[in-house]
Amino acid sequence: MYDAILPALGVIFSWPGIAFLVGGTLIGMVFGILPGLGGGQVLALLLPVTFALEPEYAIIMLIGAAGAVPTAGSVAGILLNTPGSAQNVATTFDGYPLARQGRAGYAIGAAATSSLLGALVGAAVLITILPLGRQIVLSFSYPEYFMITVMGLCLIALLGEGSMWKGVMSAGLGLMLAFVGADPIEGLVRYDLGTDYLYDGIKLVPVMIGLFAISEALALLLDKKAVAGERIEFGMSGVWRGSLAVFQNFGTFLRGSILGTLIGIIPGVGGAVANLIAYGQAKATAKDKSSFGKGDIRGVIAPESANNAKDGGALVPTLIFGIPGSLDMAILIGALMVFGITPGPRLMLDSPDIIMVLIGTLVFGNVLAGVILLGWAPYLARVTSLRSTTVAPVILVLGLLGSYATYGNFGDMIVALVFGLVGYFFHAYGFSRVALIIALVLGGLIEKNFYQSMLVFGIEGSLTRPITLGLLLATIAMLVYPALRASPGALLSRAARKERIKVSKDEG
């Protein structure tokens, strides 16, 4: 299989392969930046265009576009608190506070570099484990999926946004919203209020756009301020410092990338979970976590490396079993089948050249997207200096169109507006928008995988599976470790304070 690497590079870098790579990447970046539009839409758009092409060039264009989406999705999240897609949600937690401090270039530099390098790690892991992918995919079942979602939900305890009480309430509200629609076991439709719209549940994209984009636009309009204050870094120096920060926090980057790849391998979990869990682990393992949520660059590096690395992982079940782990991968499988390429165990034996073109495009498409983003970062950062009366109306319009574009349903625009108000008041009164969105992402997965685990394995059978047990212990460690790590420092500072009081009394 590895013999096919050089011929694949030849296809990608020869004419017209390079043109399709650049074209696909640029189109993917446009879709990534626009809120609500993502990999699914860009692949659906390009699919008919690629029918007339040779299979290799079609794959280059499709993968180039899909790979660029998460990289570009960080831009709107950092500049305007408007994540381009669900897989960029966690990037906003620290990216937007950095933009408000006038350091958007720094954040974009870190996001572009960690995205680029994250994709490289994902591809490297993919190439390494592809021969073992079958065993890895088969070792995951419902109990493992359940534990991963529980791990994601436990992040809420680590976020520390506002009061913990309100954070848990917000998460509960997110779970309640996730339960609207068809029950995953019995298929009974719940809480649909008699409307067809709620039959499939409350959709993530309009809620996300409402909570983050529209509520932020409302705040900008009512406060009448620009995104950033008076001190804004416009030059390339901030961008380079952002790139350098990735290497200075290489452990955070590497853990995020590996987590992203592993989560990508598991079908159906997806980039939104990958970037949230990567953010949570970055915070949990940080020595000083007080700056998270206020503009900590590690809060940008971890989720951005994870959401690009997950693409490499997602190709494992797609190529080995023909199981699409996401909408993007489902469309990709459809495209491959149009060209007579059937993903499955035979693909590695029959068409190693196609697999290598695919992996090579993923790598170089991400490199190209990262380099373009680094070059544009100083100009993009200027958006934060524009007056709110210029930026906010555009956010409102693009947010509403983006929420409609995802599913083509007019009701989604109304949902986005309702959650715009919810987000505005939640932010104003200390409730956690982040906890709500995490719970909404994970709620359906938790419920479905819990019942399926119980039906298939039972409690004992679920908990005695080695990976489930490992994930359970990792979750407990993630929750307990920060407290254990903080306690010596806290004890010391308390002791030092007592000592100071004693000394001042003695001196007095």
């Binding site: 309100k166 509960g172 509200l173 309640m176 009366t389 319009v397 169109l401 083509g408 104003a428 419920e447």
Partner: protein, 155 residues
């Protein structure tokens, strides 16, 4: 009752409605996660509401006793969460414009709604000058036309 109390009350009302709604469904569909989660959120919201109202009452009593001393120490409600002023008129006006946008987008076309909203909102609400508002409306309208109308099949 202040706005933050109303927000908590709305969360409580929603969870109460979902808890009551759970009785309409049989089996795991409702008497599993939805029942448990909405019950917990209802209890938490009511507890928060009661604690918040009591803290406010204690705060008022303290202020009445010591008008110059400011907020009472040991107040459980953080300063940043207290009684932020809400520009209701501004909020209502923005939503009126957005409702207009939805109506035009639904019954006419979003290609008309986008530039019309940006121009009228810029001039009437944001008090921007006509020319920059018209340029912004035209350029965003054109970009939206190219991306959504020419490229995206779902529109």
């Amino acid at each position: 009752m202040k706005v933050r109390h109303v927000v908590t009350l709305l969360v409580a009302a929603l969870s109460a409605a979902m808890l009551a709604g759970a009785f309409e469904y049989a089996g795991t569909a409702a008497f599993g996660f939805p029942f448990a989660v909405s019950g917990i959120v209802l209890v938490m919201a009511l507890a928060l509401l009661v604690a918040d109202l009591r803290a406010d009452r204690a705060d008022r009593a303290d202020r009445a006793a010591e008008p110059a001393s400011g907020a009472a120490s040991g107040d459980p409600v953080p300063e940043q969460e207290r009684d932020r002023p809400v520009d209701w008129a501004g909020l209502a006006t923005i939503y009126a414009f957005l409702a207009g946008f939805l109506v035009v987008a639904h019954f006419v076309s979003y290609l008309v709604a986008v530039p019309a909203f940006l121009f009228l909102f810029g001039v009437l609400f944001c008090k921007e000058r006509w020319v920059p508002s018209a340029v912004l409306a035209a350029s965003v309208g054109l970009a939206v036309f190219v991306i959504f109308d020419q490229f995206l099949p779902s529109f």
